[in-house]
Amino acid sequence: MLDAQHIQYHIGSRPIVNRASIQVLPGELTAILGPNGAGKSTLFRLLSGELSCNQGRITYNGQPIKGMKTRQLASLRAVMPQHSTLTFPFQAKEVVSLGLMYSRPNNPKTIEKEVMSATQTWHLKDQLYGNLSGGEKQRVQLARVLAQIWEIKAIPRYLLLDEPTSSMDIAQQHHIMQIIGQLKERNIGILAILHDLNLAANYADKALLLKQGRVLQQGTVRKVMTPENLQGVFDYPLSVQTNGPGAPIYISSLPSAATSPTNYTYKLA
């Protein structure tokens, strides 16, 4: 389990993440939802080990992140940031192969082909990364990140994704979410910051609502993603249509002159 207990991170006296507790179980997709500035990215960086929290503790499979070697951490979790820019002319396959730089699997060629096929980037393997489109770059980066934890192992591992589908078209978005779904069978726990509430509602197992650095709700999607909860977090009217267990969930919002965000807050109050 990826477990964060009462973690706190502040810049000066301003708390960015405020006593947040999070559990990510292997075999589950947990979605972090929240408005801009809620502290999603900071929380993400704390969990990935990039930042260390001022208070609280984070453990991977019971082992505290503090004092863990960089390389050991890399064997337990892979991270995909929102944007990665490449300085030099690397080919797509070279970028993907970097994901394997320290795991040294027995069958690196097979893994590379599998992750690139899964992300539909195998045909781009010989192209320069810089010449790819935004969506293609994102898929190549995803392939690199997947390569890091692709080898099947008994120990639970984790995948942290910061808006993995932000530059993708609708078909690719669903495709990527399906790949992520398949990872669950590999005993991998996935934590993803998602902007698209419908993707979150229909693919995630758990959801976590974050606002002003605080975790407001955490639990199963159907329990957490109710109209009341979502409206409270996003300060905008939303409708959630659930059609019984197993059926798709539709979340929609409409333009409304009468309910600008500020007005709406007043109404709630």
């Binding site: 991270v79 030099f88 396959k93």
Partner: protein, 353 residues
Amino acid sequence: MIQNLSYSKTAQQSLVLAVLGIGLVLLGLLSITIGAFPIPFGHAVSILLSQLGIDSGTFTEQEANVLWQIRLPRILLAILVGGGLGVSGAALQGLFRNPLVEPGLIGVSSGGALFAVIFIVFGSSFPWLGRIFGSFSLPLVAFIGGLINVMLVYKMANQGGKTDISLLILAGVALTALSGALIGLAIFYADEASLRNFTFWSLGDVGGANWDKVKIAFILILFPALLIINQFRNLNALAIGENEAFHMGVDVQRVKYIVLFMSALVVGVGVSMTGTIGFVGLIVPHLLRLSFGADHRLVLPGAFLLGAFLLNGADLLARTVVMPAELPIGIITAILGSPFFIWLILHVKKLNS
């Protein structure tokens, strides 16, 4: 075809390195024979073999002396210094994630030069330095100067894991200007004897080579260069970003210190022996990247070989163009390098993907 991932070199990379290596050896042999005092190729080979105890032909004692005391140390020094400049340029570009970085442009060379001059002028005030380090004193002092400047530039240009290009170049310009001014100040206070030492040093280029210098360069350039080359995997990861490299298991801080320290050592030692030679560290990594891709597995060792080749070629030009006089080698590299740098500035957007 499936890309080789086993972190051994691909066939193409091995081939490129082999060709570069053979080219370097051939150029070295050619350089031995050409010069104000020509030595026939057959004689040169016989002299080299005779040093190994193999008697294979005739040569005059004068030929043997010129080759053994003047040309060979000079060629070996050019190989070590040129190779060092090439590999440190490649590694610093990788570390700063910027193709405009060059030891001369970011102040490493000028820092090394400043400290070398200070040592030459005021060294007699610190007799203990010479007692402890002997002939290693000058290169080590130059290393410290280079290290101070590269650390300063790094601190100024690096903010939140990102290197600001304009800050980097400006910081390099500022530190180079300051170092130049301080060199002038040191010379102002120099006495007759140290002034003469300084003049010899500043004109030094690879013409001042002797076996002592080659030995020091062998220890203080070749070994740090090998340590840098060994960082190829980490520098590949850094090309995607510092955070991404950390996510993949790279101890980013350690890589930074290794590359900064070893580059300062390689460049500082080189500067202390040959004076400032610019642009080798800029051109060489680019030629390799443009031709064979950015994989540091090839770029780092290739930059050593190509840098050695380039400096040897420049030296060959420097001592043959106006024979029997010699041009300073820095002039040749600057004439070749400056237009290249301008081209690079104009195309840097395209290169940065």
